[in-house]
Amino acid sequence: MAVRVQAEDFDVGQELAALTRGNHAIGGLAVFVGLVRDLAGGSEISAMTLEHYPAMTEKMLAEIEAEAQARWPLEASLVIHRYGRLEPGDQIVMVAAASAHRQAAFEACEFLMDWLKTKAPFWKLEETEEGAQWVDARDSDDTAAARWVKKDPDAAE
């Protein structure tokens, strides 16, 4: 059960090993890793800078993780999100959820990402040939997050 916001890169293998070490109740571990792409909306991206609101970021991520814990029987979970300047191919985010069985692990992992994308205060500034541009939020991210609201109306915003 941990949330980290950091500029440094992370080692997925090491993180997963540390997350599950010694806990033999875990039968399923789902992980998502987000990477920087080199294309967005047809423009080539040379780099991006992730800005965030430090005081709120950790608080929101902890709330999101607590919500996942409340909804699924998780044995362990982890959210790591980077900030600062990143280049194509770099890791941005990692989410992992571990449970006795795969369904809770898969669902919780997806939930964590969907809610993180619409609630955690990060903003991407992309560097393209036309200059630096703030990325617009996508309706598809709101749609992805909204499907989890139906499961538990009390948990919505």
Binding site: L50, E51, Y53, M56, P121, F122, W123, W134
Partner: protein, 83 residues
């Protein structure tokens, strides 16, 4: 009251944070945005599309009717794009 601006709200208003003392009648998030909008052309421009503005009071998301007071930290930012 402490105000924080992020992403293009920071670019458009030309500031990342400031301390302000709004008039006494400004007691909600909505009223605060109305007051800010009248502070100058850069604020009128930045706040013209209210649907594109998210507000957090003391690091929690807030709606237009939610209260704000002198000791609050109020952050203004566009919809988030992390992950």
């Amino acid at each position: 009251m402490k105000l924080l601006y992020f992403a293009w709200l920071k670019t458009k208003t030309g500031r990342s944070e400031e301390d302000v003392t709004p008039p006494e009648g400004v007691a909600t998030v909505g009223a605060l945005l109305d007051w800010l909008e009248g502070r100058g052309p850069e604020f009128a421009d930045a706040l013209s599309d209210r649907g594109a503005i998210r507000v957090a009071v003391n690091q929690s998301y807030a709606k237009p009717a939610d209260p704000v007071g002198p000791n609050d930290e109020v952050a203004l930012f566009p919809p988030v794009t992390g992950g």
